[in-house]
Amino acid sequence: MSLIEKLGRLWNLRGLFFESLGYSLIIAFGAVVLGFIIGVLLAVVRIAPKNNPIIKFFDKIAILYITVIRGTPTLVQLLILYSSVLVVFKSMSTNLLVPIIAFGINSGAYMAEIIRSGINSVDPGQMEAGRSVGLSWVTTMRKIIIPQAIKIVVPTIFNEIIILVKETSVVSYIVLRVNGIQKWDLLGIAEKLGLAVPACYLIFLFAAALLYLAVVMLLTLIQHLIERRLKKNER
């Protein structure tokens, strides 16, 4: 087989890689959305004035959540959720939701801390000024604090999203299924093909790495566009 032929065969595998990239992105995207929602909720609970027992109770829960999730490895959390789901449902024909929820729960804890510290880093004088003209805590948050906090947290949130995209590669530890058929994420497909053609393992890994890199660069571009947009209304 000539070198050209070999390369041609490898090139024919691109569809598999793109499909797997798709699954990685679906999982990452779902997890980012879920993580962001969890993060906002936790951050609001952590920041709300602790003037009634219900908020205090939820605050304790939020602290526990953040401590436990940040204190244990993502892979362990994924495997625990995956195994628990197996125990309860025996088999699922489509189980993409399992890694989405696992990574979403995981990311939520980090997002919560990012959002909380972003809100806390807004000058407390802003809240005082809002309250002093008679605006409620919620209105001041909405109109004054959160718009300023967003500007502060955009870089860190994107950092978290980028880490999350790459971290989805640990799903290759579990068996993904879509409509009863086994599927692989980006790292997973490189591993699987590498087992079949050990001589090309490195090439497959490089291909996966390149695709992760492309996604991260795209995200970085989006981040810069958003940052520039946010900076505009200040001059």
Binding site: D123, R131, S132, V133, G134, Q148, K151
Partner: protein
């Protein structure tokens, strides 16, 4: 009922173990200009910030226009106590025992008894609990309502950084549905014109000088049509050449009849504008009086000492 706009009764404020206010009482009448002076750390800002409950006092009461702002203990609140069955029953008993007592005497004795022995909690029905709840809620909402009438100006301006100058002035009136957007903008432009900054309407605060920021902070408060203006060292963070423009504006506001409470280190300004000067030290009001009285003939040695250093 009386003509005091703000009444402070026996105010204490602790930050953790630190006792900052140790029993402050004072009344501010409508239209009055009151200057608060005293060494740094004596509790001036804390007292001012208690007036609109930016700080919640540890003990004591703040009344604004005869409305209680500090959190009530509904079980100990007079109006609620008088609604209770316990009050009715005890009044009967007391009347029988003291046939000569006046209504006021009976009222005072019964309320004292109820408070002392905490008689209400267990014996009252749902109607009473509903009354407590309503009162509690009204008291809670009163703070935001009263703040609309109390403009506050901070040492560090605290303009809303994410909004333009115009939006800084219109946000609260529009959000609180006191004015339509058009009305609020008209009023805002009018105010900006008066301070000669109408060309800054579309600018963001980060582009303004300190003096401009503070004058805009003052008209932001005025945009709410307040009854009283609270100033916390409005010129202390300014470069010296900008102090004058800000003091001029405050004087204009005062001369227009506004009730003013100002914490300041500008003794000349206090003397010129204030009707009454309060000297604070160690969390209490040590001495108060008309400016010429307090500045020229201070009675307390600590006032004398303070004034000899700053004048």
């Amino acid at each position: 009922m009386n003509d005091n706009y703000i009444e402070i009764k026996g105010l204490y404020k602790n930050f953790g173990k630190l006792k900052v206010l140790k029993g402050v009482s004072c009344n501010i009448k409508k239209g009055e200009k009151v200057a608060i002076i005293g060494a740094s750390g004596s509790g001036k800002s804390t007292m001012l910030r208690c007036m609109n409950l930016l700080e919640t006092p540890t003990y004591g009461e703040v009344w604004v226009e005869n409305k209680l702002l500090t959190p009530i203990d509904p079980y100990l609140h007079f109006d609620v106590i008088r609604l209770s069955k316990t009050y009715a029953k005890l009044s009967e008993v007391y009347k029988a025992e003291h046939p000569d007592a006046s209504t006021e005497e009976i009222d005072a004795a019964v309320i004292a008894d109820i408070k002392k022995n905490d008689l209400l909690k267990n014996y009252e029905g749902t109607a009473y609990r509903a009354a407590i709840k309503t009162l509690y809620k009204e008291n809670f909402q009163q703070v935001d309502l009263s703040r609309r009438d109390m403009g506050m100006v901070f040492q560090h301006f605290n303009l809303f950084n994410n909004l333009t100058v115009l939006e800084n002035l219109t946000l609260a009136p529009v959000e609180l549905k006191l004015k339509t957007k058009a009305e609020a903008e008209e009023k805002a432009m009018d105010l900006l014109k008066r301070i000669g900054l109408e060309d800054k309407a579309k600018a963001y605060p980060s582009t303004l000088s300190g003096g401009q920021k503070q004058r805009i902070a003052i008209v932001r408060a005025l945009a709410m049509d307040p009854q009283v203006m609270l100033f916390d060292e409005p010129t202390s963070a300014l470069d010296p050449e900008m102090v004058g423009e800000v003091l001029d504006l405050i004087k204009k506001v005062a001369d227009a009849g506004m009730t003013v409470v100002i914490v300041t280190h500008e003794m000349g300004f206090a003397r010129e504008v204030a009707d009454r000067v309060l000297f604070m030290a160690d969390g209490v009001i040590l001495e108060e009086g008309a400016p010429e009285e307090l500045f020229n003939h201070p009675k307390n040695p600590r006032t004398q000492d303070f004034l000899s250093k700053v004048l």
